[in-house]
C-alpha cells in the first residue's frame, strides 16, 4: 500500500458511461480516494452514505472525494441513484482492479478493492493513507485530520 510521501499514481477511470476522471486534472485541489470492496453493502453502516453527508466538510478543505471499486459504471449509477450519492464513484473495472493494484490495495483472492483511504495533496502527493479491516467502516475522522493538517501548511 502506498504511504505518505509517495507520488499518487495517475489514473483515468469512468465515473459515468461517458465521463472519465483523470487524477492529474485535479492538481491544485486535495483529493480523497476511498477504495471499497463493493456497491450495495448495508444502508446505515455504509461508508459512502457517511461521506455523502460530509461533502460540505470536504468542500471546506478544498477536497474532492471519489469512491473507487471494481464495480462497473452501470452498477455504480444504480447504486448512486438508490443511495442518492452526490459524489462520483469510479469504476476500476477494465482492466479489473488496475488502479487498486497501483495503490497497493487490491485483494487478489476476493477480486475486490480493499477498504482503504488516501488523501492526496494539491501537488499530487499522498499526504495520508489508511487501510481498514475489510469489514470495518473506517469513518471519516482520519480524513478530516489529514485535511486539517494540509490546511495548516
Amino acid at each position: 500500500m502506498l504511504e505518505k510521501g509517495a507520488i499518487a499514481p495517475d489514473f483515468e477511470l469512468n465515473a459515468t458511461p461517458d465521463q472519465k476522471i483523470k487524477l492529474k486534472d485535479f492538481k491544485g485541489k486535495n483529493v480523497i480516494l476511498a477504495f471499497y470492496p463493493a456497491d450495495w453493502s448495508p444502508v446505515c453502516s455504509d461508508q459512502m452514505a457517511l461521506y455523502n453527508e460530509m461533502l460540505k466538510y470536504f468542500n471546506k478543505y478544498d477536497a474532492q472525494i471519489f469512491g473507487v471499486s471494481v464495480d462497473s459504471v452501470w452498477c455504480h449509477l444504480a447504486f448512486e441513484e438508490n443511495r442518492k450519492l452526490h459524489f462520483p464513484l469510479l469504476a476500476d473495472f477494465e482492466p479489473k482492479g488496475a488502479v487498486s493494484k497501483a495503490y497497493g490495495v487490491y485483494h487478489e483472492e476476493l477480486g475486490e478493492s480493499k477498504r482503504a483511504l488516501f488523501v492526496i495533496d494539491k501537488e499530487g502527493k499522498i499526504a495520508w493513507s489508511y487501510l481498514s479491516p475489510i469489514a470495518v467502516n473506517p469513518g471519516a475522522d482520519g480524513i478530516l485530520d489529514a485535511l486539517e493538517e494540509l490546511s495548516k501548511k
Binding site: V43, D46, Q47, L50, V136, N137, G139, D141, L144
Partner: protein
C-alpha cells in the same frame, strides 16, 4: 481507537444517574432502522443496569439517505425546549414505522406539548445548529454509521446487543 469529542457535558441530553460509573453515548438517526432496532435494547440496558448507567443521545442524521431524519431530530430538540426531549425521542422510535412529515405535530400533541410553541421552535436556527454540532462531534469522534456507541468515552465496536452482552459480563 476512536474517542468521544467533545466529552459529555451539560449541553447533552442525559438520562439516568449523574454519578453512574458507566456512561453510554449513542449517535443515532431517527429514521435509521438499525437505530430503531437498538432502541428497545438500550431501554433494556437502562432497566437492567439501573443507576450504574448514564445514557446520552446525540444526533447523527444521515439526511441524504433518510428524508425525515433531520426533521425528526428537530422535533426532538423542539420538544426539549419544553422539557420533553426523551418523551419525543421515545415516541419517534416507537413510531418509526410510520415516520412522515405529519407525524411530528401528532406526537407533540400526544406527549402534551404546546403545539404552537413546538411549531415555532421547530424553525429555530439554534436547534439546527445544535443538531449540526452533534453531527460534527460524531464525525470527529469516528462515527462510521448509525447507531454508534461510546462507553466511557471510547468507541464501542458493536451494536446494542453486543453492548448489552459486554455490560453483563463486565458488571458480573
Amino acid at each position: 481507537m476512536s474517542t468521544l469529542k467533545p466529552e459529555v457535558s451539560n449541553q447533552d441530553h442525559i438520562q439516568g444517574n449523574d454519578s453512574a460509573s458507566i456512561t453510554i453515548v449513542e449517535y443515532g438517526d431517527y429514521q435509521c432502522p438499525y437505530c430503531g432496532d437498538a432502541y428497545p435494547i438500550v431501554k433494556e440496558i437502562e432497566e437492567t443496569f439501573g443507576h450504574q448507567i448514564k445514557f446520552i443521545f446525540r444526533h447523527f442524521p444521515l439526511a441524504n439517505a433518510h428524508e425525515f431524519a433531520f426533521p425528526a431530530a428537530i422535533a426532538a430538540e423542539a420538544a426539549d425546549l419544553q422539557g420533553k426531549f426523551w418523551e419525543m425521542h421515545d415516541a419517534l422510535y416507537e413510531n418509526q414505522y410510520r415516520l412522515n412529515a405529519d407525524l411530528f405535530d401528532e406526537l407533540a400533541e400526544t406527549i402534551g406539548l404546546d403545539l404552537e410553541q413546538f411549531q415555532k421552535d421547530s424553525t429555530s436556527a439554534g436547534i439546527k445548529t445544535k443538531i449540526e454540532d452533534d453531527f460534527d462531534s460524531g464525525v470527529r469522534s469516528g462515527v462510521n454509521g448509525t447507531p454508534s456507541f461510546y462507553v466511557n468515552g471510547t468507541k464501542f465496536d458493536g451494536g446494542a446487543t453486543d453492548l448489552y452482552q459486554m455490560l453483563k459480563e463486565s458488571t458480573g
